[in-house]
Symmetry: C2
Subunit: 125 residues, 2 copies
DNA sequence: CGGAATCCACGCCGATACTG
DNA sequence: CAGTATCGGCGTGGATTCCG
């Protein structure tokens, strides 16, 4: 709790408008990507980790916790050996993802416009 | 140029998907708000500054430059005394703003859902 | 008016090591 | 497997000062 204090803080400061209320929630290097992954279906921690090449455990769990705190992601723990934890989108999360879709489309067209600095990546999709 | 190196770097690294290509462009504390302000019409530097309560000149100019570099904002200089500079959206910027609208709507409903930590602000709109 | 330059604090994020 | 703890770099953003 000394570093990067992830959990249980009432964020959602005084928002100027809807945009920053939404940006607040998706800001973070991997958050929108996590949402995107989860939109395809329920995922275990390790699956998410493998699906997001380059993410560290710390950032993944931190972003997951914040997403959970913000009511976008549901965390289900199965007390087994070995332990299993499954993450899925809540209804609010699915709504956010839907709202993100036009932005994603804009981004795709923008990449096309700039013209391919992009390299081939495993999870390009 | 020693600090916070704002301008003229070919960002747009290898994007995983459209979402982070878009997020890359709007990430920054004030960027989406600047876009939002400019969507209402052409603005001078000082007008933007007053319209974004809390922003510093440094961050405003820095974000403006990045937005300009990314082709979202047009900067028009009028060599007069006193000097005048006007900022406006490009076509790409207007398209981005349109793509941002569903997200803004989601945000507004989210604010409503959380239930009003928000305080009254001048530019609330 | 519209910046540029500098200093500095804080928080994001990565790497590594350890635990149940 | 699914985290937790800690350290540290570095980028982001704030405050202040100066310039054309």
């Amino acid at each position: 709790m000394t570093d990067t204090a992830p959990s249980a803080e009432p964020r959602s400061g005084p928002y100027i408008c809807g945009i920053d209320a939404a940006m607040d929630v998706v800001s973070g290097k991997w958050k929108s990507l996590i949402l995107w992954e989860l939109d395809a279906g329920t995922r275990r921690f390790g699956e998410l980790r493998r699906g997001l090449p380059g993410v560290s455990e710390k950032m993944l769990i931190q972003h997951l916790r914040e997403l959970e705190y913000d009511g976008l992601v549901h965390r289900e723990v199965y007390r087994e050996v070995p332990p299993r934890v499954e993450y899925s989108l809540t209804e609010l999360g699915r709504e956010l993802n839907a709202a993100l879709e036009p932005l994603a489309e804009w981004g795709r067209r923008r990449i096309d416009r700039i013209g391919a600095e992009r390299v081939e990546l495993p999870a390009t999709g």
